[in-house]
């Protein structure tokens, strides 16, 4: 739709949005006979909050799974930081700085909040097996150094009081927050959030929105999020891409998308 390469711009609240961080070109994803995504192209610019919305089954979560290497599209290519990405494992996507949260909380239920967030830093820890055996010297120093970083995340998300609690015992809203913490601990350059507000009450939604904005502003993290709460999406997102039945039907700033006739039809239905 917008054929011209996206330019850096400044948002209404004065944040600088940089060049293209990730570009999806003509992505097609099929599961057997079902085509989940049909030739979708869009881009994510550095520093922005990009929302992906659409009715149920539109292919939003599939899109996130393509981005972090969990699904492999049959057609199309993904350009991340100027490099065309070949078929890759989630491990490699994580290594490139893409981290995410899940629609249904996917925390490590048997571990404490602290361990869950420490787990987010796995890729940044390098001391080898022999040092780990002794848990002394470099291995312990590394552990402590990462603990410090993790405490910053815990501090940021205001979850100090549940540090030692196994996450399985936490209420849903806090679990969502811990999951965000785990993703943040990896210091991602691209953060994917799959329905961060699902199942939350108004107060929890407000908290979560504030955290998302703070992450974006203070850490400069680029965020791509899927969300069903239109009020939240319109408030948070800089640009919105709308999917319906695996196709892209609109792409642009929230105000523009909101008044787009195709989008209104997709959400409200059209008389036949």
């Amino acid at each position: 739709m917008n054929a011209a390469a996206p330019q850096p711009y400044t948002t209404e609240d004065g944040r600088e949005i940089g060049g293209v961080l990730m570009e999806m070109k003509n992505i097609t994803l099929k599961f057997g006979g079902v085509t989940a995504i049909k030739g979708i192209s869009f881009d994510i610019q550095e520093g922005e909050i990009r929302a992906i919305i659409g009715p149920n089954g539109a292919g939003k979560t599939s899109m996130l799974n393509v981005i972090n290497g969990f699904y492999h599209p049959q057609e199309g290519e993904i350009v991340f930081r100027g490099e065309t990405r070949s078929r890759m494992r989630p491990y490699e996507a994580a290594k490139q700085g893409i981290s995410r949260t899940f629609q249904n909380v996917a925390l490590f239920q048997g571990m404490t909040t602290l361990d869950n967030i420490m787990a987010g830093r796995t890729l940044k820890m390098h001391r080898n097996f022999l040092w780990q055996l002794l848990r002394y010297g470099p291995a312990l120093d590394e552990e402590i150094e990462h603990r410090r970083k993790v405490e910053e995340v815990i501090d940021f998300l205001e979850i100090e009081h549940i540090r030692r609690t196994p996450v399985g015992q936490l209420p849903y809203g806090l679990q969502k927050r811990v999951e965000l913490g785990r993703a943040l601990a990896a210091e991602p350059s691209l953060l994917l959030l799959d329905e961060p507000m699902a199942g939350m009450n108004v107060e929890e939604k407000e908290d979560m929105s504030r955290f998302i904005l703070d992450v974006n502003e203070q850490m400069g993290t680029t965020i791509a999020l899927i969300e069903h709460d239109m009020g939240v999406v319109m408030d948070l997102a800089d640009r919105v891409v709308v999917l319906d039945y695996g196709k892209k039907i609109a792409d642009g700033p929230p105000g523009e998308v909101q008044s787009n006739q195709d989008v209104i039809d997709a959400y409200l239905g059209v008389p036949h």
Binding site: P90, F108, T122, L133, E143, R147
Partner: protein
């Protein structure tokens, strides 16, 4: 009152990340070590040391091995008995070829053979989970048992098909064979168990232990965070089999004195699995508690009629034993499905605020 952390302020993350952050726990652990290393060898009878403490420690070691795999990494295995056997036969071959080498070093080396075999049989875990993995580890069990019978090289072409432990000395003391004293064997076993428990505890509290638990709790999320299942699962199989292998070598060299394939059959795999489940999956303390429960309790129950002067037929005692142990297992699992270790943790939690719970 006694178990209270009031006044113990941690001022650095290093203090907070300690394995025993509470002072009372540190005192307790030194106390246990003191009892184990000094009191028991000095005052324990030969029967107590030989029939209770040595096998208890060895089975606790094997339970720790299985716990790494099942409790921490979530891969259920029924091959523990066979992996113990690999350690035992490897140690036997090693000491045949290198009779002069310190036997303790050979016991520790023999674990590496078990680790290698364990990793090979761990390969299917990359594709299959749960009950299907149980079946492949069971296949490992039967295949290795077959090897222990059909490969006479393993038992030096003995006519009996059994491995006989030769007499070996270490540090000027006889540590294996019929003339080794129970106290010496006990101290050797205890040292190895304490050392390896410390190592496993280090692994579990660091990055590697976390990747194991990540795989256990949510393997997809673990992969998306950057854990490679290949490394995580195979390292768990390796560490688990290593520990089981060392336990197997100790079982033969420091306790049984001679062994054939029956010492490593599938019943032993089940025995270790029960110890892990009763003790608590994912707990090192639980491995010791489970081994104590399953190994020591029957011996204690057997001794009760003699001590109280009751005149009960020996076979009746044996029947009662089965009934009592069976009932206790059910009772404990109903009270706390997460095993004795969870009961232990709850007791400690309660003790922290006792006697003023509010």
């Amino acid at each position: 009152m006694i178990y209270r952390e009031a006044g113990q302020f941690k001022t650095s993350y290093r203090q907070d990340a300690a394995i025993f952050p509470i002072l009372q726990d540190r005192i307790a652990i030194w106390f246990y070590l003191f009892v184990a290393f000094i009191v028991i060898p000095t005052f324990g009878s030969d029967f107590f040391i030989n029939s209770m403490m040595i096998p208890f420690l060895i089975f606790a070691m094997a339970s720790i091995g299985l716990n790494v795999l099942t409790g921490y990494t979530g891969q259920i295995s029924l091959g523990t008995g066979a992996f113990m056997g690999v350690g035992a036969y490897a140690c036997y071959k090693l000491t045949t070829y290198f009779p002069e080498t310190n036997i303790i070093i050979l016991v520790l080396l023999s674990g590496f053979f078990a680790a290698g075999i364990g990793m090979i049989f761990g390969l299917p875990s990359l594709r299959i989970k749960g009950f299907y993995l149980v079946v492949t580890t069971l296949a490992a069990q039967f295949f290795l048992e077959w090897c222990f019978i059909r490969v006479p090289w393993l038992y030096n072409y003995n006519a009996s098909g059994a491995i006989e432990v030769p007499q070996r000395e270490a540090f000027g003391l006889i540590v294996t064979g019929p003339s080794a004293s129970p106290s010496v064997r006990y101290l050797v076993v205890l040292s190895i168990v304490v050392f390896l428990t410390w190592i496993v505890s280090n692994l579990i509290h660091g990055r590697i232990g976390r990747t194991w638990m990540m795989i256990r709790d949510m393997d997809i999320a673990a992969e998306l965070i950057g854990v490679r299942p290949l490394y995580a699962k195979l390292s768990a199989f390796a560490v688990s089999s290593y520990v089981a292998g060392v336990a197997g070598a100790m079982l033969v060299f420091f306790w049984l004195g001679a062994a054939e394939v029956e010492s490593f059959d599938v019943n032993h795999s089940f025995l270790i699995l029960f110890m892990v489940i009763i003790g608590g999956l994912g707990s090192l303390v639980g491995s010791f508690l489970g081994a104590a429960f399953i190994w020591m309790l029957p011996i204690i129950i057997r001794a009760v009629p003699k001590m109280t002067g009751l005149d009960i037929n020996a076979s009746t005692v044996e029947q009662l034993n089965f009934m009592i142990i069976g009932a206790l297992i059910i009772v404990f699992l109903i009270i706390e499905p997460h095993g004795l270790a969870r009961l232990w943790a709850i007791a400690k939690q309660k003790l922290r605020i006792w006697p003023f719970p509010h």
